[in-house]
């Protein structure tokens, strides 16, 4: 019964924040902060309660389920379910939500209530997407998170925000419609073959599909998720949307909306169309690598700091795409870790840019430089997160990227080798950013206030999580394993004749058939 509350809290919180906006600018901030904290408390309670159950091999596929028929005639049910994967992403959503609210504490001055209304509705849309297991409900939340972000960018954005907002909306909406086609196609094919017309994920899983239609339906889903990830040819909306969005908007945009695409692929795309996904895998991997290299090269060339960071997130998410389509346990775990790490580190970088922009009212790299002398605190934070984004071992991104490349190497050696070049290019743009912003002579003679208490807490919290995820990622890995195991089991079940390179999925299936005792090689944890 708790799942609908998890979605509803933010939903109602948004309305409350808007209403509270009437009373004064401070109120909505506190309302949304309280709502998010309650939401966090709920999630942590769930995690603590179910953590023990995560590692049991006899665990069911879902931690919590909530299924309520919504429009029975058409087979639509209000079906929410949570497993390890979605729990992690919900925690990330909540954390970045709180960071978003904190960072725009006094950045947003006019129509504060309305701002927080949009912010919380984006979060509730994203939470809904991570929990929905009814394809129609999934698409409903998919659309729901889109509109408030459009208004967030359009109303509180920077210079040419209208262009960016419309471009973002068209890209996502058009691709969303393709996904809708895929959903409906699947719905009818399933209905014809089994007589049961339903959008329920579990029942739709096994639908027998002829290869060509499966490919087309899968492509429908792929385009929608590829636009969100973003995959290279479909990425141009991201730099504009990021540069023009207010800080909280771009934190949520980078942190959450990019993950929705990747989550969608793991949850819906590959399990629903396993054969088509694997025949499409080489193409997707090439796109992933292209994303890594192209994103990195362009990031280096940008003169607008926020645009630079936007392109870096294209490069990072290229790794995630690579990991998903390698589809073995290492690559998938790596993809999940990168999703979390990217959310944290790139979110932090956007907050940093927001703070810098608040001080010097520009994002032009040409005018920055030598800011370490006036803002050492900001400099250290910037250095920390730049190092995280270039994949320094000991920080979160490296764990993810290493696992992905390790997994991809088992599937496709050339892909892993070329993707590793991404490490070098990442170093180039990260250090280039640091040089242009913090090091070098202070040409403009900036005399700026260093990090204040609020900003310091944001950076400290994010630094803590990036460091812990980098040094001791085990709790996250075990939770993600719960989610990934049942997704891999679905795919393995459908691919009884598992294609050659998908050995790990088949092997996984054999592991789970004879319930293996909790694996003995778990070293004694301190």
């Amino acid at each position: 019964m708790i799942l609908p509350w998890i979605v509803a809290i933010l939903f109602i919180g948004g309305v409350l924040a808007w209403v509270a906006g009437r009373l004064g600018p401070q109120w909505p901030r506190w309302v949304s902060m309280i709502v998010l904290l309650i939401h966090l408390a709920l999630l942590v309670a769930i995690w603590a309660q179910y953590f023990g159950q995560l590692t049991l091999s006899s665990r069911g596929p879902w931690l919590i389920e909530f299924n309520q028929p919504w429009i029975p005639q058409v087979g639509i049910s209000f079906y929410l379910a949570m497993d390890g994967l979605s729990l992690l992403l919900l925690l990330l959503t909540n954390l970045l939500g709180i960071m978003g609210v904190l960072t725009s504490w006094n950045a947003i001055k006019e129509r504060v209530g309305f701002f927080h209304f949009h912010l919380l509705w984006i979060l509730s849309g994203v939470v809904g997407v991570f929990l929905a297991l009814d394809l129609f409900l999934f698409y409903f939340f998919w659309e729901m998170m889109l509109v408030p972000l459009y208004f967030l960018i359009a109303l509180w954005g920077h210079e040419n925000r209208i262009y960016a907002a419309i471009k973002f909306f068209i890209f996502t909406q058009a691709s969303g419609l393709l996904m809708l086609l895929g959903i409906i196609g699947l719905y009818f094919i399933h209905g014809q073959s089994t007589g049961v017309y339903t959008f329920n994920y579990n029942q739709l899983l096994g639908t027998p599909l002829p290869a060509s239609t499966a490919l087309w339906l899968m492509l429908g889903f792929f385009v929608a998720f590829a636009v969100k990830i973003p995959v290279v040819p479909l990425h141009p909306w991201l730099p504009d949307a990021h540069t023009e969005a207010p800080t909280a908007g771009s934190v949520d945009l980078a942190g959450l909306l990019l993950k929705v695409g990747a989550y969608g692929m793991i949850r819906f795309l590959v399990p629903l169309f396993p054969q088509a996904a694997f025949s499409f895998a080489p193409v997707a991997m090439v796109l992933g690598i292209a994303g890594i290299l192209y994103g990195a090269a362009l990031a280096f060339a940008q003169t607008d700091l926020k645009r630079l960071i936007a392109y870096t997130s294209i490069s990072h998410m290229g790794f995630v795409l690579l990991g998903i389509f390698a589809w073995n346990e290492l690559a998938l775990q790596g993809a999940v870790i990168i999703m979390l790490a990217h959310g944290l580190s790139t979110g932090a970088l956007f907050i940093l840019v927001g703070d810098i922009q608040e001080r010097i009212h520009t994002r032009e790299l040409g005018r920055m430089g030598g800011m370490w002398s006036t803002m050492p605190g900001m400099g250290t934070a910037g250095m920390f997160f730049a190092l995280a984004s270039l994949g320094l071992p000991g920080l979160a991104n490296f764990v993810g990227e290493f696992l992905v490349l390790l997994g991809v190497y088992q599937v496709n050696v050339a892909a892993a080798a070329v993707a590793t070049i991404g490490f070098v290019l990442a170093t180039v743009y990260a250090l280039w950013m640091m040089q242009r912003v913090f090091f070098g002579p202070n040409r403009e003679g900036w005399k700026l206030p260093d990090v204040n208490a609020r900003e310091a807490t944001i950076y400290a919290v994010l630094m803590f999580f990036v460091l812990v995820l980098g040094i001791y990622p085990q709790p996250v890995l075990t939770t993600a394993k719960h989610g990934l195991d049942n997704v891999q089991r679905y795919v393995a079940r459908e691919l009884d004749g598992a294609p050659p390179f998908d050995s790990s999925a088949a092997r996984l299936r054999s592991d789970n058939d004879h319930a293996n005792p909790p694996s003995s090689d778990h070293r004694s944890r301190p």
Binding site: R111, A154, L155, N160, I162
Partner: protein, 213 residues
């Protein structure tokens, strides 16, 4: 009886050609009356006397008279046909004529496809028509009456000739007797002023519309 059909058909075609080629409006209308009467004869020859009567009474009688009435009202006089002459150069006839001929050719071809069944074999008495009219088609009749009412109201409203019945009255900015270009200019001014006013009143959030390129 076929002779009546063919002769009146030919007359109808010739007179309608006459209608569209006349320069003077009244001449055209007279040709139109001839054409309608010819068509009425055709109806009669096809065994539809009631409709033939209707055609003559309503179509030729009422509608064409209405035309003449309006022409009288507009009292164009000779300068009307002078305008017509410089409008109707031969060049303007070519396009539509070609189109018309193609259309006729297509219709002739299509009607010639099936073996055509003789029409007008039996006379349809007016009694039959009226039974059918107030039988299954009673709804149609009511709708027709509604249509007529609408036409009546519309014509009455549009017919208000208040603005040009009082030419001498000095309206504040309406220049009644200006030529067409004045009118357009005046229209233009009114239109643009409204948009400035529209932009001025910042109804939506100022930033949304304000500096949209």
């Amino acid at each position: 009886m076929e002779a009546v059909f063919y002769i009146s058909g030919a007359i109808a075609v010739l007179s309608t050609i006459g209608v569209i080629t006349r320069l003077n409006a009244v001449h055209a209308l007279l040709y139109l009356v001839v054409s309608l009467i010819a068509v009425a004869l055709v109806f009669y020859s096809l065994g539809a006397p009631f409709v033939a009567a209707l055609e003559v009474i309503i179509y030729a009688g009422a509608i064409i008279v209405l035309f003449v009435f309006v022409i009288m009202l507009l009292n164009l006089g000779p300068q009307g046909s002078r305008e017509e002459r410089q409008w109707l150069s031969l060049k303007t006839w070519v396009g539509p004529a070609v189109l018309g001929v193609i259309l006729i050719a297509e219709l002739v071809y299509t009607f010639g496809l099936q073996p055509s069944h003789p029409a007008g074999v039996s006379v349809v008495e007016p009694q039959q028509v009226s039974i059918a009219l107030f039988g299954p088609y009673v709804l149609g009749v009511e709708m027709a009456s509604l249509l007529l009412l609408a036409g009546l109201v519309g014509a009455y409203h549009l017919g208000q000739r208040d603005d040009f019945r009082r030419p001498a009255q000095p309206e504040a900015e309406e220049s009644k007797t200006g030529t067409r270009s004045d009118y357009l200019a005046h229209e233009g001014r009114a239109l643009s002023s409204s948009t400035e006013k529209g932009a001025g009143s910042e109804i939506g959030p100022a930033r949304l519309k304000g500096d949209e390129q």
